[in-house]
């Protein structure tokens, strides 16, 4: 009995790798498991990608491609705002992406298009070259760092925090950590607290500051 199957290719390998990482986490991703997900042996993957590093580089470019590009010629501020929010949503969908960004140094085509579109939007929006560099650096640093912090937090909302509740206060003696204790009790535990809301506050603060310096 012969089974027919779609032949593999680089793109199908990368798509499967992204799905796997979404579900199981990037730490679980191995050549053997990925291959078995594709109904094939690990060694077969090497016909379509160079090695595991190549897969990881490819994954970074795949997720960068999901970020909404700012339109060149559109008003720079709402355009930057939208692509920042779009980037953050991508990091929420693929929590493993942030750790991959860090370790990968080879930009793929989607990353190149991203860089060009952001710089283009800023240049056409009236920023000098050095100033466009400042905006790019500050805004992207903020996006990546926020995504990293959001992921690192053991809780995101007052509800999640309330579940930990007394547990967490035990590790937070008021005499040793008075300000941290105050922050948790008087602020983060209050209904409606959601760390995620901080994102747009900081983003708008940065964008406003650049607007007045343009």
């Amino acid at each position: 009995m012969t089974r027919t199957r779609k032949p593999l290719n680089r793109q199908r390998v990368l798509q499967a790798a992204a799905r796997f990482a979404d579900r199981e986490g990037i730490a679980e991703l191995s050549m053997r498991k990925l291959a078995s997900r594709l109904g094939v042996e690990a060694m077969s993957l090497y016909n379509h990608v160079k090695d595991k590093d190549d897969i990881l580089d490819g994954l970074v470019d795949t997720v960068i491609a999901e970020i909404e590009l700012p339109a060149t010629g559109a008003p720079w501020k709402p355009a930057m705002r939208r692509r920042a929010i779009s980037a953050r949503e991508m990091f929420k969908r693929h929590p493993w992406a942030i750790s991959l960004m860090e370790s990968r140094r080879n930009p793929g085509p989607a990353s190149m298009r991203y860089y060009d579109a952001v710089l283009g939007c800023l240049r056409e929006g009236g920023f000098s070259i050095p100033m466009a560099g400042h905006v790019f650096s500050a805004v992207d640093s903020y996006i990546y760092g926020f995504a990293l912090q959001e992921q690192k937090l053991p809780f995101k909302t007052s509800q999640e925090l309330a579940v930990l509740g007394d547990e967490i206060l035990k590790y937070l003696p008021v005499d040793q950590f008075p300000y941290f204790h105050e922050f948790i009790v008087k602020h983060a535990l209050k209904p409606g607290y959601d760390y995620g809301n901080e994102f747009e506050f900081g983003l708008d603060l940065i964008l406003d500051a650049f607007e007045s310096r343009r």
Copy 2:
């Protein structure tokens, strides 16, 4: 022949792990290699740490402890500025730290002290609790994200870029990436360009913005 040697302990294991990561990179760190660096077999490490995750958690706390804490009661702005610069220098010393921050979720004592000191400096500096939360979130996001970007860059200065030189321009056709091309040729390749200088620009932009909203 019996060799006497200092008995191991958790702290010595963590110190050796940090030195190893500084020299060889975090990806190279294995229980076996670390043990051999300490003149012992891998299994011995399990007498002093729970497992490899415990070492990684410990490493995060070790490097956080290297960040200069803002003094409570000191003027908030220079204090925030100094600790931000101190944090960035720590990430330069330990490039592997940023990737570890991402994956670790259990804050150790040094991280707790850090949170408390930063919040304390802001509260005593006249910020309301929610505003202190805004500052903390924005500034720390910026620090982590900048460290991540700096590490991801294939070049940091115009000199390093000049070495890549034509190599890089080959992958950057002007018709396909006009703005990126412009940025590299007219700005980043100019003598004196150093991406590291962006750090304080963005930092001061954020601090100034918060000052006017305090």
